[in-house]
């Protein structure tokens, strides 16, 4: 089983180098899909998979750990990247030879963050996927994408600087960077908590939590839709993963619980209100990402009561956001505009996209029989047990979500037709949208398919002792 991790790395590195040398973009697409299959194959094994690089034992050597939680994240990352790679075949019209290696690097970086058992290694992989995402945001190179990319770079550099500073402080205090070893050496001292605060600030910036969220709508709205789909789903999700891993495995949640709930609440409301006033559809979905991250952060802040709900909503958010961005990407590909004032009446010309966008919108608003309802329902139940007022606020924000998505749906697909579509939508752009739509409906109707996986992931995250024992022996 250990060899599987090596295969993943070999496939991704080979895809990057071969695509640069041969300039054939089909190689990285196959590579990313192959990685998804390899990770899915690892799901058949019950035990935690530990890979020791170079034969060095932890805590001195670098280890990669695949438990149920990191496996779920790995599947989400590789799955979404595969769909995005297929979608980009026609969506990206220029510099494909540069685009696909950067996409492979992004996949590698995110997988590295979720699989590594070493916090310094986590920082390195954060840098890798951040650098590749700055490149990907700038496709196609225009004034607005260049500005967004530079802004994203500065914010990203600030974020990774915070992470590096936090890691350096922890190393100075505990003399180790291995996550399991750090968990053993953690002491209830103020200096440790200052290190935690700095580290969390870096992760909050990556996950776009208030007041660290400002970069997200600027970067996500101008990036190509296939990249916006990744940024809003798995890239933000990786930041949330790091928050969960560091809090639950190293520090313990108790001290940070109230901070997460407060910041999550403000993020959820602010994202919802800002999405409400947008006329740029991609900015609207980007603000919606901020709002949904707020829900996830509140659920995580509730500890063991809400952890399953948080992980489930993280998974659903990945599916729904990818669906919304990819379906709106088709509209932008045909019309060349993101401005909802200029769009209208497209439903009759692109019925599949209209239905997919409607399902994504209703799902994210938490309408029954769709996947968003199940995770939101779990969040409502978890918050009700802590404070019913919190549940009411969550419900109000869900109503706001429904309102702004209906505005988007109405402005783009209903009413008099303003733009005539000339080209036929390529199959490679329709298929990923249909897969994601089907996932929204299937998980919504049969949530029992996915809930055992979510519960296993939550248990793996809460079971600190098994993690430490597996890594250190």
């Amino acid at each position: 089983m250990v060899i599987m991790i090596s295969y993943i790395l070999i496939v991704l590195f080979a895809s990057i180098f071969l695509s640069i040398i041969t300039k054939k973009y089909i190689i990285p697409i196959i590579g990313i899909i192959l990685v998804f299959i390899l990770i899915a194959f690892m799901g058949f094994f019950q035990e935690i998979i530990i890979t020791r690089f170079g034969g060095w034992s932890p805590p001195f050597g670098i280890v990669w750990i695949v438990d149920k939680f990191s496996l779920l994240m790995g599947l989400l990352i590789s799955g979404t990247c595969s769909l995005s790679a297929i979608y980009s075949i026609k969506y990206i019209r220029e510099r494909k030879g540069n685009f696909y290696p950067a996409l492979c690097l992004l996949t590698l970086g995110m997988l590295g963050v979720v699989f590594t058992g070493d916090i310094f290694n986590m920082y390195v992989f954060f840098e890798i996927f951040s650098i590749s995402s700055y490149i990907l945001v700038s496709f196609p190179l225009k004034k607005e994408t260049a500005e967004a990319s530079v802004k994203f770079l500065i914010m990203g550099a600030l974020s990774t600087s915070f992470i590096l500073l936090g890691v350096a402080m922890l190393y100075g205090l505990a003399g180790t960077v291995n996550i399991a070893d750090l968990a053993l050496k953690f002491r209830q001292e103020n200096v440790f908590y200052i290190a935690l605060g700095i580290l969390m600030s870096g992760f909050f910036l990556k996950a776009a939590i208030f007041p660290f969220h400002f970069w997200l709508p600027d970067a996500h709205s101008v990036a190509p839709s296939s990249i916006s789909a990744l940024l809003s789903s798995v890239v933000v999700g990786t930041g949330v993963y790091a928050i969960m891993r560091v809090l639950f495995t190293i520090f313990g949640l108790s001290s940070f619980s109230i901070i997460l709930i407060c910041f999550g609440l403000i993020t959820m409301i602010l994202g919802g209100l800002m999405a409400f006033v947008q006329s740029d559809v991609k900015r609207l979905i980007a603000y919606s990402t901020i709002s949904q991250t707020g829900y996830i952060i509140i659920a995580i802040g509730l500890g063991s009561n809400g952890l399953s709900a948080g992980i489930f909503h993280l998974l659903n958010n990945v599916i729904m956001k990818s669906l919304l961005f990819l379906s709106i990407g088709i509209v932008i590909w045909h019309t060349g505009t993101r401005d909802m004032n200029k769009l209208g009446g497209l439903g009759r010309q692109m019925p599949i996209v209209m239905i997919s966008f409607l399902i994504g919108s209703l799902s994210i608003a938490g309408i029954p029989l769709l996947n968003g309802f199940v995770s939101k329902w779990m969040i409502y139940v978890a918050t009700w047990e802590v404070n019913p007022l919190l549940t009411v606020v969550c419900l109000i924000v869900s109503a706001i979500t429904l309102a702004y998505y209906m505005k988007a749906f109405s402005s783009i697909f209903l009413g008099p037709c303003r733009i005539k579509i000339k080209e036929k939508t390529p199959l490679c752009m329709i298929v990923p949208v249909l897969i994601l739509t089907a996932l929204c409906v299937i998980i919504g109707i049969f949530p029992q398919i996915i809930t055992p996986v979510i519960d296993q992931a939550a248990s793996a995250l809460l079971d600190k002792s098994t993690y430490i024992k597996s890594v250190l022996g």
Binding site: Y193, L196, F204, F212, F214, F276, A399
Partner: protein, 100 residues
């Protein structure tokens, strides 16, 4: 558990209904007329296909909740973003030290 279901579903339906009312109110007031109606001295007249722009959706709520103030802080200026980030870091560290 059944009671909670009932409460949540009732509250959800209530909010959906309120949302629908807001939608009706918000969109009706700001309709833009593309074509002039034909005027006669007597009898009924109707407007032809009025268009509703995305900017006019929920305008009443936008104006009343002063969301413009929230929009102003998302100006796109990096200096202002950095100020917010520094505030955030200080608040997190202070909160951690106070809570402990």
């Amino acid at each position: 558990m059944i009671e909670k279901w009932t409460i949540f579903i009732s509250v959800f339906i209530l909010f959906s209904f309120i949302g629908f009312l807001i939608y009706l109110l918000g969109s009706k007031r700001y309709k833009e007329e593309d074509s002039k109606s034909e005027m006669y001295k007597c009898g009924e007249f109707t407007l032809s296909d009025p268009e509703v722009h995305a900017d006019n959706f929920y305008r009443i709520i936008k104006d009343n909740l002063k969301i413009k103030n929230l929009q102003k802080i998302h100006s796109g200026k990096l200096n202002e973003y950095l100020q917010w980030i520094i505030c955030g870091v200080v608040i997190i560290i202070l909160l951690l030290l106070v809570i402990l």
